[in-house]
């Protein structure tokens, strides 16, 4: 006779949900990376592929949401199981949003593809690379239930904010000097802002992991460096 252990069954279901989330996370952050690459290389086809892929991301997020609901209906989870399934539902929304940002950057990449860059793109890919690390680290933290890693993600958001501010100052100077590129500079500014937002969602992921593991709701600002006045 097969021995069915309900506890193992719950663990397996949660693992499946986490793996689905991992897959969504990879696709979402790839959308951001590819859109920044499309921007940098002025590759319209690549940008279009990101925009087309967004539907797939939305479907996956929806599927995770439904799977979580079914899990709750079947197992009526409590304690860490309940925290996990609730966190996964929220994390799927964060990841889906990050994917949306990829599509939005891709649209700007298409807009900017017919004119030479107003400056070499260095800092924007740097933010992208930071956010990529943050999302992967947050997902690692989830799989390993590692709050240390989650806290690191929160700290990394400081650098993202710094870079965004740096880009803002640089583009402001360019706009003052060369008003004819204001439109392009504004687009780049919005890309930087979009990436900064993606960083916030990566931080949300990390906060959820800490909640799953400790049961305590923390805000990333408790971990990050104190905010400077007027920044």
């Amino acid at each position: 006779m097969m021995d069915i252990n309900i506890r193992e069954h719950i663990d397996l279901e949660l693992k499946n949900l986490e793996e689905k989330l991992l897959k969504l996370g990879k696709l979402a952050i790839d959308a951001v990376s590819q859109s920044v690459l499309a921007l940098k290389e002025q590759d319209v086809d690549k940008a279009k592929a990101v925009i087309e892929g967004d539907k797939n991301l939305d479907d996956m997020a929806e599927d995770i949401d439904m799977s979580c609901l079914k899990f709750m209906a079947r197992f009526q989870p409590l304690g860490q199981d309940l925290r996990t399934v609730s966190a996964i539902m929220h994390m799927a929304v964060d990841l889906e949003r990050i994917g949306d940002y990829g599509a939005s950057i891709a649209k700007r990449a298409i807009k900017l593809s017919d004119r030479p860059h107003i400056k070499p793109l260095l800092d924007i890919p740097r933010i992208e690379s930071d956010i990529r690390k943050m999302v992967f680290l947050a997902l690692d933290a989830l799989m390993e239930k590692d709050t240390k890693k989650a806290e690191d993600v929160c700290r990394m958001d400081d650098e993202v904010d710094d870079l965004e501010r740096q880009i803002f100052r640089e583009l402001l100077l360019i706009m003052i000097e060369r008003p004819q590129v204001i439109e392009q500079a504004t687009e780049l500014l919005l890309v930087a802002r979009t990436l900064e937002r993606a960083g916030d969602h990566a931080t949300n992921l990390a906060e959820r992991v800490i909640y799953i593991v400790t049961g305590k709701k923390i805000s990333a600002s408790q971990i990050r460096r104190p905010r400077e006045e007027n920044s």
Binding site: R7, Q76, P77, L78, G79, R83, G215
Partner: protein
Amino acid sequence: MSDITRDVMKVKIENLFLYYEGVMALKNINMKIPNKSVTALIGPSGCGKSSLLRCLNRMNDFVPNAKVEGRIYLDDTDIYSPGMDLIELRKKVGMVFQRPNPFPMSIYDNVAFGPRLHGVTDRSRLDEIVENSLKASALWDEVKDILTRSALSLSGGQQQRLCVARAIAVNPEVLLMDEPTSALDPMATARIEQLIRNLKNHFTIVIVTHNMQQAARISDVTAFLLMGELVEMGPTEKIFTSPEDQRTADYITGRFG
């Protein structure tokens, strides 16, 4: 949300030990049960939750070779003090059991049993008590035309609500419930749960349940017992989302028990 530190405490348990035949069944229980709220006792079989419940109205007095140490205060009265009148205690602390156990008599007489025992003889007064108790236990509409029929003709769920009516007919202050829905189907269970939520406006309710979802649905405060010890007690939503003790976390997620 229930703040157990602020609420008025109805029952205080201090350094309670219970032994059956010299074997320790409850170990140094300290606990405060808030007034007019539902407190759920949860824990695996044999953890002592029913034993603890039965200490609250001295039901363990019936068990040969059971020995109780420590203090249990109902308001300011130590219920284990030598002068305690047990009839009076059980009037104040009523009990509903796992299986419905109506007396083999009419519906009316079941509910009137307690009041009669306590000296109520006036027919119209008894009528009033029976009607009010059956209304409070959400059974009146179903039985008001068949009050003289045997209680045993009722369904299991109705019988259990009758037992609740019988318990509250003597106007107790505390109502103890030992797995009151474990023998009932989901519909009858839902009615009892609804009833418990309504009754807490008038009584302090302590319920033993094996069903954690039930504890989560109906209680304000939950206490987790394990091997005769109180592991953790706190607001129900806290116990079921983020308990402090690892043993509680393991139990509510089905890792043992």
